[in-house]
């Protein structure tokens, strides 16, 4: 495991990977990967923060919305990448959780466009996917996501990932 890494912009950062390793070891049944060009601090998730959940399947957005609401987040759901971008232009979210395999505009495209919006350059973004064809963590990272999770999403894993993501700021 690296102690430091060079970002695409050439900046050398010191990632705090102990917390990530702990999450991974506690959830060996759940695939989670983090971008390594990030810094992590331990803060309780939720606490009135706002989350944008993006998925074209209502069963998924509803489930994530309920779980995140119970964890203290104010949640807005979007059924498409376009709807998510519209929502993000209207208000500032503290974290974004998005499916990858969506029709018309996929999660990678969403992440790239989201990163160009004012105020979203460093907001934590978590990719979730069930498609093996989209199970490309490096591609998620390159698109702008901070973490990549494979469905089915377990409540505790999601909350621990968000907890780790609080304070994330991509360089």
């Amino acid at each position: 495991m690296q102690d430091s890494c060079a970002t695409s912009a050439g900046t050398v950062v010191q990632p705090s990977l102990n917390r990530i390793s702990q999450i991974l070891s506690n959830h060996s049944d759940q695939s989670v990967d983090f971008a390594t060009d990030t810094q992590i601090s331990r803060v309780q998730p939720g606490n009135g923060k706002t989350a944008l959940v993006v998925d074209d399947v209502a069963d998924v957005t509803e489930m994530l919305a309920v779980l995140l609401s119970h964890a203290g987040y104010e949640v807005v759901t979007a059924a498409s990448a376009r709807a998510a971008l519209d929502a993000a232009r209207q208000r500032q979210f503290d974290v974004i959780i998005s499916d990858i395999g969506m029709p018309e505009m996929n999660g990678y495209q969403l992440a790239r466009e989201m990163r160009t919006l004012p105020g979203y350059e460093t907001v934590p973004m978590v990719a979730v996917t069930g498609y093996s064809m989209f199970d490309d963590k490096e591609r998620s990272t390159n698109a702008g996501f901070n973490a990549h999770m494979t469905k089915p999403i377990k409540r505790h894993t999601l909350l621990e990932v968000l907890q780790a993501c609080e304070g994330y700021r991509r360089t």
Partner: protein, 109 residues
């Protein structure tokens, strides 16, 4: 409870679900009952694309709600759709039907 007409005892399956999801679970299971109907129509029409899509969604959603068996059936449907293995598709559709008929949900942290 009235015994089944074939005289066999109905096997019940009890699943513990996160209480936070209590409000959503009946709708989730109802959607899977709709999936059974859609799968039957797809099988009749030879519509492998619909089978793959529904299987994929079940695979992704089931375990998140706490129904790992639905995820497993969904994965098998998705794979069978890729092979156009209609025998397995019908078997897994029947397995989903049986599971939905047998499942009892308890909400427990």
């Amino acid at each position: 409870m009235t015994p089944p007409a074939n005289g066999k005892k109905s096997r019940r399956v009890t699943i513990s679900i996160d209480p936070a999801l209590e409000e959503l679970v009946p709708g989730f299971l109802e959607n899977r009952r709709r999936d059974v109907v859609a799968l039957a129509h797809a099988a009749k029409a030879g519509d492998v694309r619909t089978v793959r899509l529904l299987g994929h969604r079940m695979k992704g959603d089931g375990g998140g709600y706490g129904f790992q068996e639905i995820s497993d059936i969904g994965e098998a449907l998705e794979q069978a759709a890729g092979r156009q293995d209609w025998k397995v598709i019908v078997q897994k559709t029947e397995a989903l039907t049986a599971f939905l008929a047998q499942v009892d949900v308890v909400y427990r942290s």
